[in-house]
């Protein structure tokens, strides 16, 4: 086991606490860079979605995970980013300009949402963000001169340095990856700056933060703005990846998916946003795979246990019918959320930490290390 001796504050806030980090993340980055040459085009496309969802996840993590302000309206921020890109593109604005403009505009909108949200807490904030998302969705559907209403908008391919960047090509993947990596590094730097510390202080106790001299209102608005801007950047990439956007893509369902990303990944670390995005995006191909292959596998198992051919075929049909039933995906989603909340509240990254600690401390690992404290006493109404 490695012991890190910290002698001053600089040691404590280092980006890479020890050299092992550089090697592992360098290796990961190298693998991600050669991925286009290894993976099929379908998996590459999924990987691009992982990057986009992870970027949104990081944005949401700043707001929900680190500042403690729950938001179920991030689909609206994504929509604003996507629509800004689509609108400016019509006037031949170059990509870097509208990319930045989309982020900026979304950030401003985020700050505007942040102001009313200052007075709200907990459940009231959740409903306020949901209301905001509904209103944005309705505006997108009705403001036809700009958004083309429910007909949606086509998004052309990116023109970068005189070349067009195909949405399926490796260059687009590198672009998304670059945005993700820059966002993560930027967020890490933010979190070790006074601003980030203030965010975490507000999350842990607003009153305590205020009595330490933190301007709670200012930092909450900042958190909203930063989170929204990052989501806006992701929105531009999202629009380009789909090449077509319409209001019904940005519903409450999408906001819930973003929350699922950080919930499943683990809400206390940026690793969680990435792991959650991988989980959420990859669950679709996985379910399709199960749907196609499970019936055969189960029938095979039944056959080995002595079921006749006819019986096995019958079982195969039954399982196939069940697997292709409408809405099975929703049920599985629901079960996954509930199971994670009940049994893995720290998310995938928490599980990873537990496994790591198990091997580091072997054979002295104690289950109670990660036990959460129940707080029956505290009524959130009086907080």
């Amino acid at each position: 086991m490695r012991f890190l001796f910290k002698t001053d504050y600089e040691d404590d806030i280092r980006l890479f606490p020890h050299s092992g980090y550089i090697y592992t993340y360098g290796l990961l980055l190298a693998v991600l860079l050669i991925a286009p040459y290894l993976l099929s085009s379908y998996l590459m496309s999924q990987l691009v979605f992982v990057c986009i969802y992870a970027t949104v996840g990081v944005g949401l993590m700043i707001l929900t995970g680190f500042t403690g302000q729950a938001s179920l309206g991030h689909a609206a921020f994504l929509a604003i980013g996507a629509y800004t890109a689509a609108y400016l593109q019509q006037y031949n604005v170059p990509f870097p300009v509208y990319f930045l403009a989309a982020g900026l505009l979304t950030g401003v909108v985020g700050a505007l949402v942040g102001f009313p949200a200052l007075r709200l807490q907990g459940i009231y904030l959740v409903i306020a963000t949901i209301s905001f998302a509904f209103i944005v969705e309705e505006i997108l559907a009705r403001w036809e001169s700009v958004t083309h209403g429910n007909e949606g908008m086509r998004v052309k391919t990116i023109q970068l340095l005189g070349n067009s960047v195909s949405r399926d090509g490796p260059v687009f993947y590198y672009l998304c990856l670059a945005v993700l990596v820059l966002t993560i590094v930027g967020t890490l730097n933010l979190l070790r700056s006074p601003t980030g510390r203030a965010f975490v202080a507000i999350r842990d106790s607003e009153t305590a933060a205020r009595s330490m001299g933190i301007n709670v209102a200012l930092y909450k608005v900042k958190s909203f703005a930063i989170s929204a801007a990052i989501t806006g950047f992701a929105g531009v990439l999202f629009a380009h990846k789909l090449s077509f956007i319409s209001p019904e893509m940005f519903t409450l369902q999408l906001s819930i998916e973003f929350i699922i990303v950080i919930l499943i990944g683990g809400t206390f670390s940026l690793h969680g946003a990435v792991l959650g995005a991988i989980f959420l995006v990859m669950i679709d191909p996985f379910l399709t795979y199960l749907k196609d292959d499970m019936p055969g596998v189960i029938a095979g198992v039944a056959a080995t246990f002595g079921a006749g051919t006819e019986r096995a075929a019958h079982i195969q049909d039954a399982v196939a019918a069940f697997a292709s039933a409408n809405g099975l995906k929703g049920a599985i989603y629901g079960i996954i959320i509930v199971v994670f909340v009940l049994f893995e509240p720290l998310g995938l990254y928490g599980r990873w930490l537990k496994i790591k600690l198990f091997f580091q401390l072997f054979p002295l690992y104690k289950r109670a290390t990660f036990k959460r404290q129940k707080i029956y006493v505290k009524s959130e109404r009086n907080r």
Binding site: T207, G327, L328, A331, L342
Partner: protein
């Protein structure tokens, strides 16, 4: 003027439905400080139970209604036992997510069992109208209003006059202290979930003639009922109904007098405005912060 009254009444009837669902939200919140995002889906499930008893098995309307209420009360207890109890006492956000997950699950499973079509329940109130002068009021809407008033009054009395109601309020204030005072907190929570599922079922069955029952009705109406509960100030029973009626009337008026598209957003705009002025809702308690 007649149009206005007509719109007002249909808005109130619609609002009462929102109010009934919001009552479920408020009940659970009052007793456990948990926001149940699956409330609308419980309502939907209750409607489907009633549809099965009345429409498919051909039982008498009132027997089927009672059967659905009892089944859903048991189901509410089951849901509480499986999903909520293990995380009771953890931060609110985890419980919100768990109930969102429960809602997903209920919607899909209902869709898989009963199909995704619209269903209708034959009720004694389906036909017939009450005429006052030239004002026409349908019985099904009046039945909703009447039921809401009765349920609201009963629940209000229950919470403020009975021992069990007091125990529920106590356990929401401070579970640990309530437990020390000899209140069986777990059973109290279980009972409150049963009651809220039963109230949701009433809403579902009364709603069936107005909007048909389908597997997504819970999501749609739940998202309207939730602002209603917030508008009234989460945790106030009359507030939930008043909030529901306000939302219903605003929606109905906006649909009639304003251009298309306002109908769906108007309730949310009003909600945001109210939250800006009174962050704790219209009837909410303002409590000083403690460190």
């Amino acid at each position: 003027m007649l149009d206005f009254v007509q719109q007002l009444v249909s808005g109130i009837a619609l609002g009462c439905v929102y109010g009934l669902i919001a009552l479920g939200f408020v009940l659970v919140y009052k007793a456990t400080e948990v926001v149940n995002f699956a409330q609308g889906d419980l309502m939907m499930l209750g409607g489907f139970f009633a549809f099965t008893f009345i429409g498919l098995l051909g039982l008498n309307y009132w027997i089927g209604f009672a059967g659905a209420v009892i089944c859903m009360a048991l189901f509410g207890m089951l849901a509480e036992r499986v999903v909520v109890r293990p995380i009771l006492g953890y931060p609110q956000f985890s419980i919100i997510m768990a109930t969102i997950g429960l809602g997903y699950f209920l919607r899909s499973v209902t869709g898989m069992i009963w199909g995704t079509d619209d269903f209708k329940i034959e009720t004694p109130f389906s036909q017939g109208v009450l005429r006052i002068g030239s004002l026409v009021l349908a019985y099904d809407k009046l039945s909703v209003i009447a039921a809401t008033i009765i349920l609201c009054a009963l629940l209000y009395l229950f919470f403020n006059r009975t021992t069990l109601g007091t125990a529920m309020r106590a356990s929401s204030e401070n579970m640990l202290a309530a437990y020390y005072m000899g209140i069986p907190v777990k059973r109290v929570v279980s009972i409150v979930w049963a009651i809220s599922a039963a109230v949701a079922t009433c809403a579902g069955v009364l709603l069936a003639p107005i909007t048909f029952i389908h597997s997504n009705v819970g999501l749609v109406l739940g998202l309207k009922a939730f602002p209603a509960a917030v508008l009234g100030g989460f945790g106030s029973i009359p507030g939930a109904v008043v909030g529901g009626v306000l939302i219903g009337v605003i929606e109905s008026m906006a649909g009639f007098y304003l251009p298309q598209g306002w109908k769906d957003v108007a309730p949310y705009i009003v909600l945001l405005a109210v939250l800006l002025l009174k962050p704790e809702g219209l009837f909410g308690l303002h409590v000083r912060k403690k460190v």
